[in-house]
Amino acid sequence: MDTNELTSPGYEIPPEAQGTVAITTIDRIYNWGRRASVWPMMFGLACCAIEMICTAASRFDLSRFGMEIMRPSPRQSDLMIVSGTVTKKMVPTIVRLYNQMPEPKYVLAMGACASGGGPFKEGYNVVSGIDKFIPVDVYVPGCPPTPQALLNGLMKIQEKITNEPTKTARWYQKGEDQVSIPIPILGPDLIDPRKIPQIKNHKGS
């Protein structure tokens, strides 16, 4: 939203206040502020994390998007960049971190592995994509995606934020505002608590 658009909104403004008063909708100004200060979680899983660090460093400069403040704590971050292969041993931690993030929160699956298992999909310790457990907003393809590709993915997140109506957003509604996902269990293999009935059924059959 550029300044011109803000200061000449098409409404009748008294001449003495023209150029100093801006009229807009709550949604637009609020989302404009929100999208320009997305704080990603400082959270690297594998190779993609290196490209994520490169994106944050001087050459590609994530701070142009207001995203240079990477928070190591999930409680201070808005965006989880799942940067690398999600393994069965790691996925309980990732789900726990996701549950700890405050709303509104976004997830970006960076690279082939986080999106669907990638080259390691057939491995016995690999989860075929983080979207088996947590909802993903943007998928960035590549192995690893270049910093430019990650930036493009982050701009997609910004686009999504821009178009989110405050009125209907889930996390501004009354009542329980947090969707928490049951933590997977490490048994003889990874157990998704949501699938326990299915596992028991299978035993019966």
């Binding site: 190779c47 290196i50 460093a57 393994t87 999909k121 048994g187 003889p188 596992i199 035993k203």
Partner: protein, 579 residues
């Protein structure tokens, strides 16, 4: 190229007439030791023959022959070829082999890995827990009769993914539609899961007698999500106040089943996977794997390819070391400023990689008997500018920025000491070993490729503390620049690939161990071929993983804040630790 000791020059059967026989299988070398005599044999090998450095331990599952084999590679830190010895045991439950931890303490993590993945039980190992998978996981995945949930066929290329033109995905064949499988009759409600119990028990075992005032001990977990663990590494520590009483590294959070996938792939298909081992140094990883397979195939790359390989491997070393120094400084609290200096140089080197290989990080550039693409004159000019103009200046600049900084000196000097004896005992490799005063560099000790033609010094520092481990990286970068300068001058014209490049290579049956001096230390690939298009066994001797064996002895007695710096000075990459 790392050549193993030929049977003729070293006659161990004379010393051990009843316990040792030469390995006579075609394509194999070394010695087969009786399992009862193993510890005695290893102690003699170390004390009488001078093989003080046990670099690699791994197991091989010979399912058709019905036996398991444990393979050891030992070397002398004074240089020269190594010796390989094996123990064969029948493939029955349990598979038991005596542990060598009393002779070579560096086997600790490697034996745990062999137990975890192959189910080889090392008798008298004090802490034989799973290391990469979690405690309670069903089965030992690298056994040849163990099938993963997405199992389709034993080897690739898979015959038919598109029956009648319709794509079939692995998910559709699995009863749960996911990458999971449970034992027969498994009921999640009737089972108890506690994957952490064994770890905490083992931590508490190491507690020492209390002296003086009684104080409570505190158990702290750092990681797997922690900004200073360089990825998904986790350490569980017991603290007395701020002092470390006991520490256990916990890994496997990035265990991507490299070896299992690698044993299904064809030989060439593994090349891009090696990129993803230590993802900061893909060229070096390619190098070691190419060397191992070339040794089996008996091909030799043409001159130009050899020079290009050396240039790329040394550029990789510089890119890795600026990154390592930058991250060590991050861990010491200099948040991101020194990192940015290093990053700038790394980005410029990555530009060169992108120009020759097409990718910034995952280069996939080496081929068996050559390299994938030629280096153009433009790129060569860029490398020259770097090697002769920019890099020497920049390495000096970063060193000037850091070397005399008061904080770095006071936190680095005398902290996290690893003595020379311990470094050898714990099989530490690379800068970690050389910073402790052992001038052991495979490029000199057992030259491979064309390293014997270049003039360079083996960087070595004497104190073995955090500061020396940082400074040795500057020394190594300078030597790498020297090598690149000589290689660029000597780069001949000509072919870059021996013979025609081919997708499926014929590899004769046998075994080979190819190793290079990677930026993190000795990177080795142990490959067993049975003449088929796929390796029978594909094992990675990962320097980051084995260097962590020395992490606990270095850290006990230090403060918790220093442990972060000690870990930073080892320079690990989780892709390689966990594979």
């Amino acid at each position: 190229m790392a050549t193993l000791a030929p049977t003729q020059t070293l006659d161990l059967t004379e010393r051990f007439p009843s316990a040792v026989t030469p390995d006579a299988r075609p394509g194999y070398s070394g010695w087969i030791v009786n399992s009862q005599n193993l510890v005695e044999f290893a102690a003699t090998l170390r004390d009488e023959f001078g093989y003080d450095y046990l670099s690699s331990v791994t197991g091989v599952d010979y399912l058709p022959e019905g036996r398991m084999e444990v393979v050891y590679h030992a070397f002398k830190t004074t240089g020269g070829p190594g010796v390989v010895f094996k123990v064969q045991v029948p493939r029955q439950d349990p598979v038991e082999v005596p542990s060598l931890i009393s002779v070579y303490p560096g086997v600790e993590l490697q034996e745990r890995e062999a137990w975890d993945l192959l189910g080889i039980k090392f008798v008298s190992h004090p802490d034989l827990r799973r290391v990469l998978m979690w405690e309670g996981f069903a089965g030992h995945p690298l056994r040849k009769d163990w099938k993963e949930p997405y199992f389709e066929e034993d080897v690739k290329p898979l015959k038919n993914r598109w029956p009648e033109g319709r794509i079939v995905q692995a998910e559709s064949k699995n009863p749960f539609g996911d990458n999971v499988a449970y034992p027969e009759g498994f009921d999640p409600d009737e089972s108890q899961f506690d994957p952490e119990k064994a770890l905490y028990d083992s931590l508490r075992k190491c507690q020492v007698e209390e002296v003086g005032l009684k104080s409570d001990h505190l158990l702290v977990n750092m990681g797997p999500h922690h900004p200073s663990t360089h990825g998904v590494f986790r350490m569980a520590v017991i603290l007395d106040g701020e002092t470390i009483v006991s520490l256990k590294p916990v890994m496997g959070y990035l265990h991507r089943n490299h070896e299992k996938i690698g044993e299904r792939n064809t030989f060439l298909m593994n090349m891009p996977y090696t990129d993803r081992l230590d993802y900061l140094t893909s060229m070096s990883n390619n190098f070691a794997y190419a060397l191992a397979v070339e040794k089996l195939m008996g091909v030799k790359p043409p001159e130009r390819a050899e020079y290009i390989r050396v240039i790329m491997a040394e550029l990789t070393r510089i890119a890795n070391h600026v990154w390592a120094v930058g991250f060590l400084l991050n861990d010491l609290g200099a948040y991101f400023t020194p990192m940015l200096y290093g990053q700038e140089e790394r980005e410029l080197i990555l530009d060169i990689f992108e120009a020759v290989a097409g990718s910034r990080m995952m280069c996939n550039y080496f081929r068996f008997g050559g390299v994938a693409r030629d280096v153009t004159d433009n790129v060569l000019q860029k490398i020259k500018d770097h090697a002769f103009e920019r890099l020497p200046r920049k390495v000096d600049e970063i060193e000037r920025l850091l070397a005399d900084n008061e904080i770095i000196r006071s936190r680095g000097i005398g902290q996290g000491i690893l003595t020379a004896e311990d470094a050898i005992r714990y099989s530490a490799a690379g800068p970690l070993l050389r910073a402790s005063g052992i001038p052991y560099d495979i490029r000199r000790a057992d030259p491979y490729s064309i390293y014997d033609r270049f003039e360079f010094d083996v960087a070595v520092r004497q104190n073995g503390d955090i500061y020396d481990r940082m400074m040795i990286r500057f020394d190594e970068m300078r030597q790498s620049i020297r090598i690149i300068q000589q290689a660029v001058r000597g780069l001949p014209k000509g072919e870059i690939q021996a013979g025609r490049p081919q997708y499926t290579v014929r590899v004769p049956a046998g075994e080979a161990y190819g190793r290079v001096e990677g930026p993190k230390g000795e990177l080795g690939f142990y490959i067993v071929s049975n003449g088929k298009p796929n390796p029978w066994r594909y094992h990675v001797r990962a320097p980051s993983f084995i260097n962590l064996t020395a992490f606990e002895p270095m850290s006990v007695g230090q403060k918790i804040a220093d442990v972060v710096a000690i870990l930073g000075s080892i320079d690990i990459v989780l892709g390689e630790v966990d594979r």
